[in-house]
């Protein structure tokens, strides 16, 4: 039975209305939109789903790891309510403002501490920084293979068969385990939490690990462990000048639009 680890990141809801998106230029940080709670990054939820599908078929154990500071329990417990077995939080001020490098390093060290793992799942990229590096980074640090952008994962003894999305189709890749798999939306929707799952999750206490618990110094993680420096974060300005074609009825507007596009030499 496979031991599985899924890395889940708490992010600002990426589907919050674009108009609510604000940056604080003084801190170079995004201001969380008021009234919109954070979520597990959607690809990470689908990574949980990938692990659950394997558990449905083969059994096994799913451990979820989330890294950050002041993580909201209601948010980070969601994978438990979907059916994951255990939640480990790497939670400490030292973990704040990590980049791909320091995130992958801390997660890899935590996974080393867990010790037993056949499959490690991540989302293909986090919905805030959209970097898509952490899964590959964990694999590199642990010295194991990685298959990215998966739409299906089949577990077999000692290996996995993965379908990797490519621009015009997919590839079937066989990978020796242990391995990291990063999951894309083509995998299909993540399941909803069941009532039973929510009740079970409420009773479970996450395990909290500090840098010392995973054998790293605070200078290797978070801001201190970054390899990239954020010089500036800003919102691109948009001119936004739309010419609305109006008419008495929608059909007339459609015909008028065609004429207007002809006039503009677009058709």
């Amino acid at each position: 039975m496979p031991n599985m680890v899924v890395c889940c990141k708490q992010v600002i809801d990426p589907e919050a209305p674009p108009a609510s998106f604000k940056i604080d230029p003084a801190t170079n940080k995004v201001v969380p939109p008021p009234g919109v709670p954070p979520v597990i990054s959607p690809f990470d939820e689908q990574a949980v789903e990938a692990a659950l599908r394997i558990k449905d078929k083969h059994g096994g154990k799913i451990t979820v790891i989330s890294l950050g500071n002041n993580l909201l329990r209601d948010v980070v417990k969601k994978p438990l309510s979907m059916g994951a077995d255990e939640l480990i939080l790497l939670e400490d001020p030292a973990f704040e403002d990590s980049d791909s490098w320091s995130t992958a390093y801390a997660l890899a060290m935590a996974i080393k501490k867990i010790g037993q793992y056949d499959l490690i799942f991540c989302g293909r990229q986090a919905a805030d920084w959209d970097a898509g590096q952490v899964g590959c980074g964990i694999a590199e640090i642990l010295g194991i293979p990685c298959v990215t952008i998966a739409k299906s994962v089949e577990f077999m003894d000692g290996k996995a068969k993965v379908e990797r999305v490519i621009p015009d189709g997919y590839q079937v890749i066989e990978v020796a385990l242990p391995a990291v798999i990063t999951v894309s939306n083509e995998l299909g929707e993540a399941r909803y939490a069941t009532l039973k799952g929510i009740m079970a999750a409420a009773k479970k206490q996450p395990i909290v690990w500090k840098p010392a618990d995973i054998g790293v110094s605070p200078s290797e993680v978070g801001t201190a462990g970054r390899r990239t420096k954020l010089v500036k974060l800003f919102q691109p300005v948009k001119e936004g000048k739309c010419e609305f074609v109006e008419a008495d009825s929608p059909a007339e507007a459609g015909a008028k639009l065609a004429l207007r596009l002809r006039e503009a030499k677009l058709i």
């Binding site: 998106f21 490519i166 390899r227 074609v245 058709i267």
Partner: protein, 332 residues
């Protein structure tokens, strides 16, 4: 210790030719190398790629390393990683650029961690800071809601570049450059992820990435039937059909026509968005279109902030009349 110098571009091939993204990277790399007064180097990896080296030179490279091996016929992470690790250690580039492609997305992070250096993915602008001489890496973040400028102080400074974000040079066959074979031993036992099969969906008609007109539908289309109407319009305009993510997730249309941050990037003359709200992750794939036309029943929809022309209304009523009129105009 030897110094990190020059700009290195990881080259890709498509149908036996230099890939468009590589020509774009060479265009950008040329500018950076000139600014640094250094050389532009390209590396080509595959079973037989030496014939393409001249196109890389014509597109701006001063020197092309060619690594050929039957094991490199198709991209496999572990094999390409071995080659690139060795090549970078030998070439010691100041800057290393890859495309934000299927290969680049997989190879670049892996390589950066192996080389213990920083990496910015999906950059849309790159420049040299005049005082520090560091590479300024500009990339959209938060699904395209924001942009960030990054620098890295470790070498090589690595970045992947979004497709169609950079302009290639006009190929000049009279340009001179050096072609150097590079030998890398590849141990097949170290290839732990093996490609067993590649399944490609046949594209009928014009390829989405190449189409000058794209008719794209979103969740508002409501089902696969509606996309038939979009297809009819696309055919009429000699264009291709695309979609936002929900129609792909719902299997109304194939995944391969998703446009956006995690789908395809298109830059047509005309982009007609029907029943698409204009989420930043979608706009990431179509903001390079010259003209966006939006049909949406919600006057507040974000897509109208991106569009040049818009109609507020139910597409079921707007589109048939639009298509009829287009037919009439094209016939007359």
């Amino acid at each position: 210790m030897a110094e990190y110098k020059n700009v290195l571009v990881f080259g890709e091939t498509a149908d036996g030719k230099l890939a468009t993204i590589t020509a774009e990277l060479l265009g950008c790399g040329r500018r950076l190398a000139d600014e640094l007064k250094e050389n532009l180097i390209c590396i080509l990896i595959g079973e037989k790629v030496a014939d393409i080296a001249n196109s890389a030179i014509a597109s701006g490279a001063d020197k092309v390393y060619v690594v050929e091996d039957p094991l490199l016929k198709e991209y496999q992470t572990d094999a390409y990683l071995m080659v690139m690790e060795k090549a970078v250690k030998e070439i010691m580039p100041r800057i290393l650029l890859l495309g934000q492609t299927s290969i680049g997305r997989d190879l670049a992070p892996r390589l950066a961690f192996r080389l213990a250096t920083g990496l910015s993915m999906d950059c849309v602008e790159l420049s040299i800071d005049p005082t520090t001489k560091l590479l300024q890496q500009i990339r959209p973040v938060y699904g395209g809601n924001a942009r960030a400028i990054f620098t890295t102080e470790s070498f090589p400074q690595m970045a992947t570049v979004r497709q169609k974000a950079m302009t290639p040079l006009e190929p000049d066959p009279s340009r001179k450059g050096e072609v150097v074979p590079l030998k890398v031993e590849i141990d097949p036992a170290k290839i732990r992820a093996k490609v067993l099969q590649t399944v490609k969906e046949e594209v009928v008609g014009i390829k989405l990435e190449d189409a000058q007109t794209v008719v794209a539908g979103g969740r508002g289309i409501g089902g696969p039937e509606g996309f038939k109407q979009l297809e009819e319009l696309a055919k009429l305009l000699k264009g291709a059909v695309g979609a936002s993510r929900p129609p792909c997730d719902n299997k109304w249309v194939p995944d391969t026509i998703q446009i956006g941050l995690t789908g395809k990037i298109v830059t047509p003359e005309l982009y007609i968005a029907v029943g698409i709200s204009g989420a930043s992750q979608h706009i990431a794939g179509c903001s390079g279109a010259k003209n966006i036309v939006a049909i949406n029943k919600d006057p507040e929809a974000n897509i109208f902030k991106e569009a040049r022309f818009g109609v507020v209304g139910d597409w079921k009523q707007v589109l048939p009349a639009f298509t009829e009129k287009v037919k009439e105009l094209l016939a007359g």
